[in-house]
């Protein structure tokens, strides 16, 4: 198979996507619903279910580690847990108790709880209460004072990193008595009652945080914000300043999401429509550059641009935009500009989420309605 693999899944923007851990199922957000595709071994993704339960834009989707449950959250202030029941996905409402849009939701590594971030300046940590047969939540409130934009779980199932629009990246404890086993001490702290603020970082610009991520062992934290740079933190221990803090400034447009490929490699992507790879260790990090060439879309690069996507009969949104631009500038539409990609990159618009697909592959989704799997 040659990479990158490009899945074209319509013209509507995809805010979030997720592959099940086995790689069989791809879930994407489309407007007010979530679409599920079978992808493994197929040349074209095959739609097999659409989850309709929200009445506003779905902002995030996640599949539990064992693949049995799907979690969605939406601007309608609700989160739903979908489970297969008699051949159909049935939703269960989660008691979030928030008054504003839910912005992001993520299952914990064990799949027994999940966190939902919101613009109500609250993170709801949710777990299943057997007596009531209901998903209930506990709120992380202090000292949050702005919208939560991103969440990432530490592998120990207790610590949670969150990024928010006030420029802070924080690490909280979500220890729930009776559910979690007492976690072992990590570099982030040892005593971890619920809502313990373990760490708090602000990058030098103090810009919005768009994405946070731990590495596989949870010993490194990285985040991207709206200043086109990547921050990497190596914690030293409770109450101590970090062992190392690295800031990599780039000349790209802002990054929206990132993921650790391994301890020495990070993939980030955003408004530049391209995946950028960074490499480094505790002594320093540097940008390896974009995985694809960014060519000026105004100059014609016929050989690279006329890619093999002519099998799409449906006119895409950028083709339509191009058509109107042509009409506006020249008063007519030239044949050459319809069909075919507009830009040299696999994504034609902002990349909204980056996830780890396998040990050497990363998947991305974007506002162009595409999901792409890159080899890094």
């Amino acid at each position: 198979m040659s990479f990158p693999i490009v899945y074209k899944l319509g013209t509507e923007p995809i805010i979030d996507h997720v592959f099940s851990s086995s790689g069989d199922v791809l879930a994407i957000t489309v407007g007010n619903s979530v679409k599920l595709y079978k992808v493994k071994g197929l040349s074209k993704p095959e739609l097999f279910a659409e989850l309709k339960g929200h009445n506003k834009t779905v902002t995030s989707v996640d599949i539990s580690p064992d693949g049995s449950r799907i979690l969605t959250c939406s601007q309608d202030r609700n989160a739903l847990v979908w489970e297969m029941c008699e051949g159909e996905y049935k939703p269960t409402l989660v008691l979030l108790r928030i008054n504003r849009a839910a912005t992001i939701c993520r299952w914990s590594p064990l799949g027994d709880k999940f966190a939902v971030g919101s613009s109500d300046r609250i993170i709801a940590v949710c777990y299943y209460e057997e007596e009531n047969d209901w998903w209930v939540s506990k709120h992380l409130k202090k000292p949050l004072k702005s919208t939560i934009t991103s969440l990432y779980w530490h592998p120990n199932n207790v610590l949670l990193a969150c990024g928010s629009t006030d420029g802070h990246t924080r690490v909280f404890s979500t220890f729930i008595k009776g559910l979690d086993a007492k976690p072992e001490a990590t570099a982030w702290g040892s005593k971890l009652p619920f809502q313990t603020l373990c760490s708090d970082f602000v990058s030098e610009t103090g810009a919005w945080v768009h994405g946070v991520a731990f590495n596989a062992t949870g010993e490194i934290l990285a985040f991207v914000n709206h200043d086109s740079s990547l921050n990497i933190v190596y914690p030293q221990g409770e109450g101590l300043p970090p062992l190392a803090y690295h800031l990599v400034k780039t000349s790209h447009l802002p990054f929206r999401s990132l993921v650790f490929v391994n301890d020495n490699k990070i993939a980030a992507a955003g408004n530049d429509n391209v995946l950028v790879v960074f490499e480094g260790d505790q002594n320093g990090w540097k940008e390896l550059g974009p995985t694809e060439k960014i060519l000026d879309p105004i100059v014609k690069h016929s050989s690279t641009l006329r890619s093999a996507d002519d099998d799409d009969d449906e006119i895409s949104s950028h083709d339509a935009l191009n058509m109107f631009k042509q009409l506006d500038l020249r008063g007519r539409v030239t044949k050459t500009t319809t069909g075919g990609a507009n830009q040299s990159t696999s994504h034609q618009n902002t990349i909204t989420s980056v996830k780890l697909y396998s040990l050497s592959h990363v998947s991305t989704s974007g506002d162009d309605g595409r999901v792409v799997v890159y080899k890094v």
């Binding site: 300046r121 004072k145 702005s146 006030d166 420029g167 602000v202 030098e204 610009t205 103090g206 810009a207 919005w208 914000n225 709206h226 200043d227 086109s228 740079s229 400034k249 780039t250 000349s251 790209h252 447009l253 802002p254």
Partner: protein
């Protein structure tokens, strides 16, 4: 309820509201006297032909946390340096000045270019500022522009 979009919903939860003070960068305040010293020092550099030194000096000392008067004085100092360099060199030579700057200094330069473009004295020298701007972007890409927009440390 036709104007429900205009309701200030934050007013209903005042204790959770993020105040302006909380967004001020956590940096020491720059006193006016320090900026005056920088201004004099940069003039000394300029009069003795040390253009690179003057540029690096004014870009290393932006008053992020201070009163308007101090910020304005420093903006004028930076503007003076930029004019002086341009008036004594060809357009093509600006690039080498920018290349000698650090990434941080380039970011600060873009901040001051935008700020001076909004001033009446800057508007009169629009061409000069655009010369500088073009060369910075050529060297450093779009990063400094994004950082100018996103940075809470305003000049």
């Amino acid at each position: 309820m036709s104007d429900w979009r205009r309701i200030d919903i934050d007013a209903y939860e005042p204790d959770k509201f993020l105040s302006k003070e909380e967004l001020v960068p956590d940096l020491p305040e720059t006193p006016y006297s320090e900026i005056q010293k920088v201004s004099q020092q940069s003039r000394t550099y300029l009069s003795s032909g040390k253009f690179s030194e003057a540029l690096a000096l004014v870009l290393d000392t932006p008053p992020y946390v201070s009163d308007e008067q101090t910020k304005e004085t420093h903006t004028e100092t930076v503007f003076e340096v930029l004019c002086s360099i341009r008036n004594n060199h060809q357009v093509g030579e600006l690039k080498s000045f920018i290349q000698s700057l650090t990434l941080d200094q380039q970011d600060v330069l873009v901040k001051y270019l935008y700020k001076t473009m909004g001033k009446s004295y800057g508007a009169k020298q629009g061409g000069l500022l655009l010369n500088w701007f073009e060369k910075v972007v050529e060297v450093s890409g779009e990063g400094p522009i994004v950082r100018y927009l996103a940075d809470r440390r305003t000049v």
